[in-house]
């Protein structure tokens, strides 16, 4: 009912506007074309200057309203450079914006048609053209130099002491891998992927059929979905992969972003400045978390592809890391010497056998190996 009412109101408004428009056209013709043009010219000229003034007030008001809602201080040291550049660029473009918009609408208002005004025949002036070629070129060169200097820092080699974590995107979530005690990521191959117990396709065992040799470096790799732990003040380097389509690791608080491309590893590094807990206090939001948002359209669940970055102190990190079991033991619990063989750790394997239809081959392989 309300829908029809709304439609009826809209139609009515349209009709009224149309009638007014029609009537004003008759009036205009009766008054004479010249005179009515002068009249509407005056109205539009006034609206030009009104638009300028109200627009500038609106720009200011919008800033007052929305500025507190953007992210605040960068949570990474490198991100500070992004912010510096951002403010510089806002200042430069802001000046140009104000000058050009004010001139545009002010000229429109000031030079509206008047009977006694003779337009000034001014077809060209080379000095002016050179002026507004050279000045933008110089300003832009400055911005390019600053930008490229930062760009090479952001995309350059991460510092040696950086914590290295592998990030893999898939529809629709993130998987993180730490190299474990040996500090080396074991080899992986996408055909070995089994969502149940080998989500990254690590090469754990020999598979002569596929010409694969087990990589012992995989045995201590730690694999965790969704939440990644990194350390305050220590650079972190993400090695980014994708398991299916293109995703993007977007970490807005750290001002960084990089695509996850299947088959082509990419990297990103930054140095977190505040722990998650510090940010909770800083923002006054007890629910604060550093979120990884997927920033590249990846399918119908794109909007829900969230990861969480926990920034912690070195001590908290060490305590957390000590509790982590290599992924290998989840798949092969009998190899885990730290727990007695009778423990109910076989559960993951059971679920693997029932839930994985696709990788049945892999599963039987592993059963044989047992």
């Amino acid at each position: 009912m309300s829908t029809f009412l709304t439609i009826a109101v809209i139609v009515l408004v349209f009709l009224v506007i149309f009638q007014i428009a029609k009537a004003s056209e008759y009036v205009a013709i009766l008054k004479g074309e010249e005179k009515s043009r002068m009249q509407s010219n005056k109205i539009n000229g006034f609206l030009m200057i009104a638009f300028l003034v109200l627009g500038l007030i609106g720009v200011y008001y919008c800033n007052e309203l929305l500025e507190p809602k953007i992210l605040g201080e960068s949570a990474s040291i490198e991100g500070e450079k992004v912010d510096e550049m951002l403010y510089l660029t806002i200042a430069v473009t802001g000046v140009v914006f104000l000058i050009t918009q004010i001139l545009l609408f002010w000229f429109a208002y000031k030079y509206q048609e008047k009977e006694d005004r003779k337009p000034f025949f001014f077809p060209h002036n080379n000095r002016l053209e050179v002026l507004w070629t050279v000045i933008p070129a110089i300003v832009l060169s400055i911005l390019v130099v600053i930008g490229l200097r930062n760009w090479f820092i952001f995309t350059g080699e991460a510092p040696k002491e950086a914590l290295v974590v592998e990030v893999t995107g898939h529809q629709f979530g993130w998987i993180f891998r730490y190299p474990g005690k040996d500090n080396t990521f074991g080899k992986k191959y996408f055909r070995n992927i089994d969502p149940a117990n080998n989500s990254l396709g690590l090469i754990w065992t020999d598979n002569p059929g596929a010409n694969q040799k087990a990589d012992p470096a995989t045995h201590d790799d730690i694999v965790i979905p969704q939440n990644v732990y990194i350390i305050k003040g220590r650079p972190v380097k993400f090695i980014i992969n994708s398991r299916d389509v293109i995703h993007d690791v977007g970490v807005a608080h750290f001002r960084m972003k990089m695509d996850a491309v299947p088959g082509i590893p990419t990297t990103m590094w930054f140095t977190p400045k505040f722990t998650t807990n510090e940010m909770k206090e800083k923002t006054g939001n007890s629910n604060f978390v550093y979120e990884i948002s997927c920033d590249q359209m990846c399918g119908n669940g794109h909007y829900s592809m969230k990861g969480i970055i926990e920034v912690v102190t070195q001590e908290e990190y060490d305590a957390w890391m000590a509790k982590q079991k290599p992924y290998y033991f989840a798949a092969f619990p009998e190899k885990d010497t730290s727990i007695p063989p009778s423990a109910p750790a076989t559960v993951p394997l059971d679920t693997a056998n029932t839930s994985s239809t696709v990788s049945a081959g892999t599963a039987t392989n592993q059963n044989k190996l047992k």
């Binding site: 809209i10 008759y26 013709i29 638009f51 000034f120 933008p136 760009w151 898939h170 088959g263 979120e291």
Partner: protein, 606 residues
């Protein structure tokens, strides 16, 4: 009845004579309904076909944006009417995620290609090139007709994809593989994507047929005295647009062909190391997903200039006429158009700074991208100087030309943020880019198109549009466009990603609920205002005030030397000879001096 008399005055009979005059010209031939209105080879009719088809698509594409804005503005609210309209795509009156992505993708594809490419340059290239250079028709009227019908076919195929069971393509208008290549990764990439590619392939054919024709016509069919530097800037802009299209669309097509092979014939151009949930590991190895992005953006970037150059040309022409003053710096305008055309081929990878592209390679694209701001700045300052000390008539077309410059400045300046890779790393794929390209390409392109329609409508239909409706249309659209897109910059600065169906689960982005609702409300108002324009357009074709003077705007260019309702062939008798450039406004005390007037002995030089 008396109203009608007022509207059309006593000269109605006279205008009618002009009608007959045109038909009695030596090009007079009998036309059936089909050859005149459907399979017409008259460039003016083809232009109208492009325009009206473009308008239909603009309404469809705009409606799609209203639907997905409804989801963004009111994510939890149910609209039962949507379920009755869309069925399973809006279960329980809430637009589903797959429908949302399909709408976003189709909105982008339709607006970029069907409205702002075909609707804008298709309309005005067809309409203005022969009329302004002094030719009876295009170099190949038949190819011209084919160009429209390929476009029409592309539209039909795209439209049909909306009705397939798995839905239309839903992976974004850029159609990045692997998502677009794998039906198992997204239901929209099944039949919907096949139809999308077929439609786009037809569209490429259409734009190549059109583009080659435009180039051939401009180079070969100018009237006596019409040297290249006497061409109006509209023609120059359309010329560069056609060149860009002819050079870049084939690259897009090649990218699509590889995509077709990957989709259907088991090749691995773009695919490698892929494991799909529920399907398993795919056999493809060794492809590069980034290759597609290079091929796509090699068209994609020139494409944004294909959209904006005609708008620039139209704005320049309209602005000069209505400021009653020559365009400032004709040669600089021309040079900057040329520079933009060249540079537009050298900046494509700025869409790919964070795609995994080699960062060192990226740095060259930063330099070239920011370089393109220089010719853009030249154009803006030249427009401003054109207004300076003019005698400005605010015709609806002029308002849109001024609005165009305002939008071009606002959107162009944010390009400086995005072209700088170290800033793009934060702003890429956020609402900042949404705001940027909607203002500089979408709204500015539309404004150029509106300026063109309002200005040349009397030439197209021999009648005027209603001015009051036009003024209402302009001011609501102008204010509304800024209200919609300006706040989006802030969402982008907050890192809010684009193409999200729902932000409520995100701690970092959910603070914009009110703003999203506000934007949606304004978007609906602006959309309704476009319906007002549409009504004005179609009503005035039949009932508008009749044009009584041959040159209603007091313009210099050749189209205003034709009869009020020109027939096929444009001029009765000889095509006029051209003696001067088209911008002699306010010279030596004359209001305007048409291009056909010989240069007098005592005339001042410039």
């Amino acid at each position: 009845m008396s109203n009608e008399a007022i509207l059309h005055g006593q000269t109605t009979g006279h205008a009618h004579d002009a009608d007959h005059g045109a038909l009695d010209g030596h090009h007079h031939h009998h036309e059936s309904f089909i050859t005149k209105y459907i399979f017409s080879q008259d460039h003016k009719m083809i232009a109208k076909q492009f325009l009206i088809t473009g308008m239909v698509w603009a309404i469809l594409g705009g409606l799609m944006s209203v639907l997905f804005r409804l989801q963004l503005g009111y994510p939890d609210q149910s609209f039962p009417i949507l379920e009755s309209l869309l069925g399973k795509w809006a279960k329980g009156g809430i637009i589903q995620a797959d429908a949302y992505y399909a709408l976003v993708t189709m909105h982008g594809t339709v607006l970029v290609f069907f409205v702002l490419t075909a609707g804008l340059s298709g309309t005005f290239a067809n309409f203005l090139i022969p009329l302004q250079i002094g030719a009876r028709d295009m170099a190949s009227p038949f190819m011209n007709m084919l160009s429209y019908w390929f476009f029409f076919a592309a539209g039909i195929v795209m439209l049909s994809s909306l009705f397939v069971e798995t839905g239309p393509f839903s992976g974004g208008w850029t159609a990045y593989p692997p998502l677009s290549a794998l039906g198992s990764a997204s239901p929209g990439s099944k039949t919907g994507m096949d139809l999308w590619i077929i439609s786009m392939a037809l569209f490429v054919v259409s734009s190549l047929l059109g583009g080659l024709n435009y180039i051939a016509t401009i180079l070969n069919m100018r009237t006596k005295g019409m040297s290249m530097t006497r061409l109006p800037l509209t023609i120059w802009a359309l010329f560069f647009t056609a060149v860009l299209g002819v050079l870049s669309f084939p690259v897009l097509l090649s990218g699509f062909i590889l995509l077709i092979f990957d989709r259907n014939f088991g090749t691995s151009f773009y695919l490698s190391d892929i494991f799909i949930n529920g399907v398993g590991a795919l056999p493809n190895e060794g492809g590069s997903a980034i290759l597609y992005q290079h091929l796509f953006w090699f068209l994609g970037h020139p494409e944004v200039y294909i959209i904006i150059l005609p708008a620039m040309g139209i704005a320049s022409e309209v602005m000069s006429i209505n400021a009653r003053k020559p365009i400032f710096g004709y040669m600089a305008m021309l040079g900057s158009l040329f520079a933009i055309a060249i540079l537009s081929f050298l900046v494509w990878a700025h869409h790919m700074f964070v795609s995994g592209l080699n960062p060192f390679l990226g740095s060259f694209f930063v330099l070239l991208t920011l370089l393109i701001a220089v010719p853009s700045a030249i154009k803006v300052f030249n427009w401003l100087t054109t207004l300076w000390r003019g005698n400005i008539r605010f015709t609806p077309a002029m308002l849109y030309a001024i609005g165009f410059v305002s939008m071009f400045i606002s959107g162009g300046l944010t390009g400086i943020f995005l072209g700088n890779s170290a800033l793009d790393i934060h702003l890429h794929d956020t609402y900042f880019i949404v705001a940027h390209f909607h203002i500089v390409m979408g709204v500015a392109g539309m404004f150029g198109m509106f300026a063109g329609i309002y200005h040349w409508y009397p030439k197209m239909y021999g009648r005027y549009l209603n001015n009051t409706l036009a003024y209402i249309h302009f001011w609501i659209t102008m204010v509304g466009a800024y209200l919609i897109f300006w706040p989006m910059h802030y969402q982008g600065l907050a890192g809010m990603p684009r193409r999200y169906y729902d932000y409520s689960v995100w701690e970092s982005f959910k603070q914009f609920t009110d703003l999203n609702r506000f934007i949606t409300t304004v978007a609906m108002i602006v959309f309704a205002t476009q319906l007002l324009f549409l009504f004005n357009f179609f009503y005035s074709i039949f009932k508008g005030r009749k044009v009584k003077s041959q040159n209603p705007w007091g313009a210099n260019t050749l189209e205003w030397t034709t009869p009020i309702n020109p027939g096929h062939g444009n001029w009765e008798g000889e095509i006029p000879e051209v003696h001067r450039w088209p911008y002699d406004y306010g010279k030596d005390g004359h209001d305007f001096i048409a291009q056909t007037v010989p240069v007098g002995a005592s005339e001042s030089k410039h």
